[in-house]
Amino acid sequence: MDLTSQILQYVLSGITVGAIYAIIALGFSLIYNAVEIVNLAQGEFVMLGAMLAVYVLQAAGVPLFAAVLIAIVVVGGVGALLGLAAIHRLKKSSPLSLIIITIGASIFFKGVAMHLWGKDALPLPAFSSGDAIEVHGAVLVPQSLWIFGITALMLLGVYIFYERTSFGKAMRAVAVNKHGARLVGINVNRMVVWAFAISAALGAVGGIIVAPVTLASYDMGTMLGLKGFCAAILGGLGSGGGAIAGGLILGILENLGAGLISSAYKDAIAFVVMLLILFVRPSGLFGGRSADGR
């Protein structure tokens, strides 16, 4: 393999994993917009999605897509419960204690998953069979195409939700100005619960589409969650476009670094990038406030 096809390979793998980071980062942004806290249990939603899909598939013997759907809905429900807990504490707690609650929730989810499904990594079948595709010497597994496609679909869905539906606009209104949102008759608490449910479901989708490539295990969420958080910071916490760009940039940088320098530094690269951004441009690449107040 010559250098160009090597770099192409890294970029393609980078986009694959970056797409997952982007979905997770979008989940962080959704909740951050609604309640201005960082939900550190976001990574566990990813894990729960993957593990539940595997479990439902094996235990219930339903087709793959049904298992996937059930997993997404259940994780969405779990997210809604966490959201309920959060708004219950919202009035009397500082953001910091809420963030600690989400850390507690993440440890809890991880523990429950370990007890229920054990410590072994479990396989989820790929969504379609077929041989790897060769592009100019680089190789792409079919599941990568699923990851690209579904991620793009999710992002488009979130965009349409926020820009075109009145429910989505109301959620944006809550993010932009809670006081104003209450005054036009929006039930802010309900919106917060929905934000948690949607971002949990998004996380679950991320976990499910990556599971055929990386396997599903009880501890997969921690690192994915942290990387997604880095991506959200890189792009600008709270910005949808930033989450996507941050995820892709992070995924590509990570794979280039791992391939060209040393794979030992793979995880370090993400955190170095995050630290650099926090020093140089704390609002993130796309999180700058402009004239319209964003």
Partner: protein, 244 residues
């Protein structure tokens, strides 16, 4: 339409309202005037359920609504135009107006959204020109018009207006008060909270004077305007009216 009985409110240990009673009849414009810190905004926020009442009672349309959630009040027909306007800055003027109708039943929205928007644009033509712009790019006066328009989109029976004139140019203030005075013809009841006592009493039917959390005076607006005490304390007697 609205009746408030011996309302008290605390912020921590500080008593902001010390037993306020007032009422607004259907179709009336009532002005609530008083100096900074008298508790004007606190009254509105307590009525709207934004600030919890410690004791006392709020009745809207004959039903008890003390400490009701704000979204429930909007559904019942009580809308507030808040101090500082609270428009959704990064969203378009049109989206802001549409969100104003958020609490209304879906079928009704579908049927009446267009004509309601037409009505808002007729009232404030500048909003039509700016409908695609982000609300945050509007001037203060335009944002105030947008905040009023947004509240009107909920088709309220009654509108609570908090300091609509604050920080605006005299000509804009005049325009906004002209629109508020027209609500009487539309059958929308108004409770107007203002530091600009002269302008608000000028369009109101009745007025209340609030001082340090208590109602000091209640009378017809025309009487309050010539009341010596009110003139001395709130109208700046001896100064010419700003747009005369």
């Amino acid at each position: 339409m609205l009746r408030v009985r011996s309302l008290t409110t605390h912020y921590g240990g500080i008593q902001a309202l010390k037993g306020v009673s007032l009422h607004v009849d259907t179709g009336e414009i009532v002005a609530l005037v008083g100096a900074n810190g008298a508790g004007k905004t606190t009254i509105l926020n307590t009525i709207c359920g934004m600030v919890p009442a410690s004791s006392g009672e709020v009745l809207f349309d004959g039903k008890p609504v003390t400490n009701a959630a704000p979204d429930r009040l909007v559904r019942m027909g009580l809308s507030q135009v808040p101090e500082g306007r609270q428009v959704f800055a990064p969203m378009t003027v049109l989206d802001n107006l549409k969100l104003g109708a958020y609490a209304r039943p879906r079928a009704e929205k579908k049927r009446e959204m267009k004509s309601d928007l037409e009505f808002i644009y007729e009232t404030f033509p500048i909003l039509k020109e700016r409908s695609k712009q982000h609300a945050g790019t509007l001037s203060g006066g335009e944002q105030q018009m947008l905040a009023i328009g947004r509240a009107l989109m909920s088709k309220p029976k009654m509108l609570l207006l908090d300091e609509p004139s604050v920080g605006l140019a005299p000509l804009v203030v005049k325009e906004i008060f002209r629109v508020i005075s027209r609500f009487r013809d539309l059958g929308t009841t108004v409770l107007l909270v203002e530091q600009n006592a002269r302008a608000s009493l000028g369009i109101a039917d009745r007025g209340y004077v609030l001082e340090t959390g208590k109602i000091l005076l209640e009378d017809a607006a025309s009487e309050l305007l010539i009341n010596k005490e009110v003139q001395r304390a709130y109208l700046g007697k001896g100064y010419r009216h700003v747009w005369e």
